[in-house]
Symmetry: C2
């Protein structure tokens, strides 16, 4: 069944409409009709990486060329460790060498790293050019390509430099998941599970029942998981684009997860793996603070185990964890703010978590005391 489903991110207000569609389906890379209206000047710059380029760059360029759109590619190395200033500068140099103007859109063809880097480049090149997301990993299709968070890492912290900058269009072609490494697929499922945990008990239950179908890459199951994830994200982003409130809920497990990524060196743990470990820690902490039951923690642990994801972080001292967590963007007046669960399917932003409980959870999830 090769149908296209569409989720809309509503960003409409009285002075401007920045709403955009997420199209989900098979074979979208060959659908020139979806792309062509975005290239009135007949030119496109494509940013991708050394893994994705041999697989999907040619088909995309052919689709564009068939519509009279001339394109060139900027091919970066693959990995979170390359989401940095140097590669951003390399994008700008290529754009300037090719004389890209304000109306030349940038296309991100790849996973979360390519999407974050390209989106940020589009936000600040000539103070802003149009931007299109073509995510090719599960993680990017369900999370990073939607919602307009873009940015790069700094040696002292993850995603510390960036912008809110919305794409004009997201094309999530589920065929591209056929070539995804197993480990990447599992990492993407960590973010899918997150949506169930923060917002939708029924979706969490569905995931528990369909985890094997998802791991086997059955297309109907994947399409449902992508669509429901995008719907939840679109709903939350529409209500709070700039994370002044509920959007922070999407960061379940991320404070701890970013600390892991930062400590281990970018790219050693995949983002989704770190988020899974971080979510287990948030669940443990939620239980210690008597917000959820130990049975609920066990259900979460069970699903992550089925998905083949880490259930705890690497060995470091609690002191080191705490130091790294202080770098989180949600910190206010030195106070780390946590996303905790009130049940599976309901979450809250919590200040003033007692340090003793936090340390206990860190130890329970792998830290040296």
């Amino acid at each position: 069944m090769n149908k296209i489903e569409t989720v809309t991110v509503e960003l409409d207000n009285p002075t401007e409409n920045r709403s955009y569609p997420i199209h989900i389906g098979q074979g979208l890379l060959t659908q020139g009709d979806l792309l062509a209206p975005h290239f009135p000047a007949g030119r496109a710059a494509i940013v991708t990486n050394t893994t994705v380029a041999p697989l999907y760059l040619q088909v995309l360029q052919t689709t564009l060329a068939d519509r009279g759109i001339e394109s060139f590619a900027i091919i970066l190395p693959d990995g979170e460790q390359y989401k940095n200033q140097e590669n951003l500068q390399q994008i700008f140099t290529a754009l300037l060498e090719h004389r890209c103007e304000r109306k030349t859109p940038l296309i991100a063809l790849g996973g979360g790293v390519v999407g974050d880097l390209t989106g940020f480049a589009a936000a600040i090149y000539l103070r802003g050019v149009p931007f299109i997301q073509i995510p090719t990993t599960l993680l990017a299709q369900v999370d990073s390509s939607v919602g307009g968070k873009t940015g790069i890492n700094h040696p002292l912290g993850k995603n510390m430099i960036g912008a809110f900058y919305q794409p004009r269009l997201v094309l999530a072609d589920s065929d591209t998941l056929d070539t995804l490494a197993d480990r990447e697929l599992r990492a993407g499922l960590a973010e899918v599970i997150k949506y169930g945990l923060i917002h939708d008990l029924a979706f969490f239950d569905w995931l528990t029942q369909h985890i094997q179908a998802l791991l086997a890459r059955e297309k109907p199951a994947l399409r449902h998981a992508i669509r429901r994830s995008c719907e939840i994200k679109a709903e939350i982003v529409s209500l709070d684009e700039r994370e002044s409130g509920m959007r922070a809920l999407l960061n379940l497990g991320h404070t701890f997860g970013h600390a892991i990524e930062n400590a281990m060196g970018y790219g050693v743990w995949l983002h989704g793996e770190a988020v899974a470990a971080g979510t287990m820690m948030a669940a443990d902490l939620s239980c210690r603070l008597q917000r959820i039951s130990s049975q609920e923690v066990e259900r979460i642990r069970h699903l992550y185990r089925q998905a083949g994801l880490p259930l705890g972080g690497p060995r470091m001292t609690t002191q080191r964890y705490l130091e790294l967590m202080q770098l989180d963007k949600k910190v206010e007046s030195g106070n780390i703010r946590f996303i905790l669960l009130d049940q599976i399917g309901r979450s809250a932003l919590v200040d003033n978590v007692p340090t003793t409980a936090l340390v206990e959870s860190l130890v329970a999830c792998g830290a040296d005391s």
Copy 2:
């Protein structure tokens, strides 16, 4: 007469109010009342340079400390050639090392380079933190500190990377002009004259009459020039914040000027000097296209000469000029767009300028044919 005048940049719409005041007067660096409300968390990061820091950093930090606001300074080298990626990264490193959070404002204390760099840093650090401008040069007080254009240069082009990001407050303390080098004062006057040319014949006439008072740094004359310049800029920015139309008029002389700065190496010509030469070229071109009279060109030339500003560009081939001008952000489909004069006090954005006229103007203003 030590009164404070205030110009408001109106950026009010049904969903948010981002309007902000520009306060103009003497002794503003010691006015804690104007600053204090912007630091609810009691912390500030100040970005300045090696020229300005010895003069004004201590007084500003004392004013803040008297209101219980703790601050630290990031001191950069002075000059346009430092408005680059490396110094931006240095700002981020310092902000992260000092654990600056989303509610810690960045203060730009300095000229246009400090303001552009700091504003851009504020726009993208943690995806946006509050920003305050304290311009200490005439150019920054009348132009770059107002309107939210921020950014850095790229080795291949000036201001190619940046963001529209508005300050919360601008403090233009005319006392800081006492220490300004003569050459910097003259460069600032180039932008002041620009406002008369694009928008206000009466102001141009006033400038012609008061150019000696301005060069002698007489405070009432300076205050009037700063206020009227800010009023014109605020009016234009309010109508077209993101330069979809009339805001481009503020770039009179800048396409040619940026080419000069780029060719000579950043910092060799001051920005205002390059703009003066570029404006003479735009005036010459306007005359060749029969938009203004040769008498009007002569009046403009006379005022720039009185102000001690360059009347033409450096010797380069017209080919080189044209190449560099192609890098301008206003270029569309390879077509350079010019700001031309329809009379002194009225300007227009013009496409499709004949290349022959352009080359003649370049030669008339210093290029080798």
